[in-house]
């Protein structure tokens, strides 16, 4: 399904967080990148229908606000960044809760089959009956992702799903999300900090800066040295890796605003 945002703006009180953002999520994987507080999470919340921005968000041409909550929840699954809970629930129960709107008094075979399959795919079977409070931050994050996927959504919005995972798990989870995205035809968007993850797994990359959409497109056209320096204030080298996807090597931070950076470095060379 295609989820489209046209001219959406959002502010918390007088603080404008998003301004006239236009973008389209198509079946496939979209990475949303940008510095902290750029508005990535707010954008995802607006796209999920949790927040109601100015402008329009449409799912297959239908405005989200006209959809019933049930339809909305069934189609669009949003995973918030934070998952802090003191609930005394097992991993299995937590993943099962992804199906909260389908669950009956007796848990149906359909629901358990979906959960079982996901638990296997995400290698969570060994910790299925552990309680949430016994898990590490990374394990919790995996459980939360599994719960999101248990909803079997058409649009999957993940807010920094890999922030607590170790290197290997980051790639495993992204590979899994990529595979499910392709096999189920999901339109997936994930907000990430790691540009190499974005570059490697995403079909499209959107860059958010100060609440505005700076640019978007295929990774190789978006992730350039200039853009990284300007958006993140970081000096990076971009080379071409597998499947012509850019590989970013960060050299170091730019201590001052990026436009000043060039002249300052030139001045340094002169000495």
């Amino acid at each position: 399904m295609i989820l489209e945002a046209s001219d959406i703006s959002f502010s918390y009180g007088s603080h404008q967080v998003l301004e006239d953002v236009n973008l389209q999520l198509k079946p496939g994987m979209t990475a949303i990148i940008g510095p902290n507080a750029a508005g990535k999470s707010t954008l995802l919340k607006c796209l999920s229908g949790m927040l109601r921005p100015k402008g329009k968000v449409r799912l297959e041409g239908i405005t989200l606000t006209t959809l019933k909550q049930e339809q909305l929840t069934r189609q669009i699954s949003f995973l918030p960044q934070e998952f802090n809970t003191t609930a005394v629930l097992t991993v299995y129960e937590t993943v099962l809760l992804g199906r909260v709107h389908q669950l009956g008094w007796r848990v149906s075979d359909v629901d358990t089959r979906i959960v079982n399959q996901l638990m296997q795919e995400m290698k969570l079977t060994d910790i299925a009956d552990r309680y949430l409070n016994e898990l590490s931050g990374g394990q919790r994050q995996l459980v939360a992702i599994a719960q999101s996927l248990a909803r079997e959504p058409s649009v999957l919005l993940l807010d920094e799903p890999t922030s607590n995972l170790d290197l290997r798990r980051q790639y495993e989870v992204c590979t899994l999300i990529r595979r499910l995205t392709d096999s189920r035809g999901i339109s997936t968007a994930l907000a990430v900090h790691d540009l190499n993850l974005a570059s490697r797994y995403a079909d499209w990359v959107y860059v958010i800066q100060n609440g505005k959409l700076r640019c978007g497109g295929e990774p190789q056209s978006v992730l350039t040295e200039t853009l990284i320096a300007e958006v993140y204030g970081v000096e990076a080298r971009v080379t071409i890796g597998q499947e012509t996807r850019p590989v970013i090597t960060v050299l170091g931070p730019v201590p001052v605003a990026s436009s000043d950076f060039q002249s300052e470095r030139d001045a340094g060379n002169d000495v």
Binding site: V88, Y92, T94, L97, T112
Partner: protein, 351 residues
């Protein structure tokens, strides 16, 4: 290979369900045993056969025995069970919707409000004795308890209020109503003062079949409505943003639940007075025993509450033979150390 693992997962989940069901059944039995012991003990020296005959063959015992068992002991013992269950459920859902382990009808001032209502009725109605204790006191207690609950919710509706705000508001209400009660006590005549004090301690005496029927009906209806939302309530404990992202209208769910719980609490405490610690302790016991899948958590909170109050009722009769002291003293005496022990024993491992 994959098939067996899925099967294993299913079996493990079913095993968990069976284990929890076993816990629920065990506690049901404990409640029945406690109820039975509660009925066969009392100041009047009745033998076990006499009590049993009175219960099962009402015609063949003396009228006095019949009256003691069926008019006093049985309704009082059942009252203990129903009030305990009501408080257990109320505490469980308050902790759930406020996401706080210290929430309960007692700590949030609902019991104090009921006490205030009762004290007010006793002071104002001291002239018309018959009506005062049977109608005026429960009604006034109910109204004040509802008022307190709805105030808590109103505090929660204030823009930007978090669940912590609601807790703080509840604690403040508790102290406001307590000071109101103290003021009324100070103003009251000696007889009225005695009545107020007795009410505040919480008492099951005065239970009758009508009151029991009211509590039973209210409990059945509210619990039924809560049970129809078990999954949403379970998901609510994953945290505000998470529950919302699951498509749960958290605000509406909280409001509905709080209203149900308020009615439940107000009904329970308006007849019996402030019975402390049950609403706090019962959900914690239930959580340790079956976790927070509300399909088990709600029934077990009810059963734990019922068991605790029933045992406390038994203790109030056994401790000083020949007399029955107010049950609120017993529940606090049992509940507070248990609660402290739980906190120390479990510490970091949960909540």
């Amino acid at each position: 290979m994959q098939g067996t693992t899925a099967n294993d997962l299913n079996q493990a989940y079913e095993r968990l369900g069976r284990r929890r069901l076993a816990v629920v059944v065990t506690v049901v039995m404990l409640v029945l045993v406690s109820l039975f012991l509660d009925v066969i003990t009392g100041p009047a020296a009745l033998s076990l056969p006499e009590v049993l005959t009175a219960l099962f063959q009402p015609g063949s015992v003396s009228e006095a025995t019949q009256t003691i068992v069926c008019t006093f002991r049985l309704p009082t013992a059942l009252m203990a069970v129903f009030v305990g269950a009501s408080l257990g459920i109320a505490g469980a859902e308050m902790q759930t919707i406020l996401n706080n382990p210290l929430a309960s009808p007692y700590t949030l001032g609902v019991s104090a409000a009921a006490s205030f209502g009762a004290a007010l009725a006793l002071v104002l109605g001291s002239g018309m004795l018959a009506w005062t204790t049977t109608v005026f006191v429960p009604v006034s207690a109910f109204v004040c308890a509802m008022f307190c609950s709805l105030s808590i919710f109103a505090i929660g509706r204030i823009r930007g209020a978090s669940t912590e705000t609601i807790i703080v508001g509840g604690v403040a209400l508790h102290f406001i109503f307590s000071s109101g009660v103290a003021f009324l006590q100070y103003m009251a005549s000696e007889d009225t003062l005695a009545a107020i004090v007795f009410w505040i301690f919480g008492t099951l005496q005065g239970a009758n079949w009508q009151k029991l029927a009211i509590i039973a009906v209210v409990m059945a209806v509210t619990t039924g409505l809560l049970m129809s939302r078990v999954w949403q309530l379970t998901a609510l404990r994953l945290g505000e943003s998470h529950a919302r992202s699951l498509g749960i209208n958290t605000e509406r769910l909280r409001l509905q639940t709080l209203i149900l719980v308020s009615i439940l609490t107000a009904t329970a405490v308006c007849f019996t007075g402030a019975i402390g610690f049950i609403g706090l302790l019962a959900p914690h016991l239930a959580r340790i025993l079956v976790g927070e899948d509300q399909r088990y958590f709600i029934p077990l909170s009810a059963l734990s509450g019922a068991f605790l109050v029933s045992v406390a009722a038994l203790i109030t009769k056994l401790l000083i033979p020949g007399t029955i002291f107010p049950i609120g003293i017993a529940t606090a005496a049992i509940g507070a150390p248990c609660f402290a022990a739980l906190a120390l024993w479990k510490r970091r491992s949960y909540w």
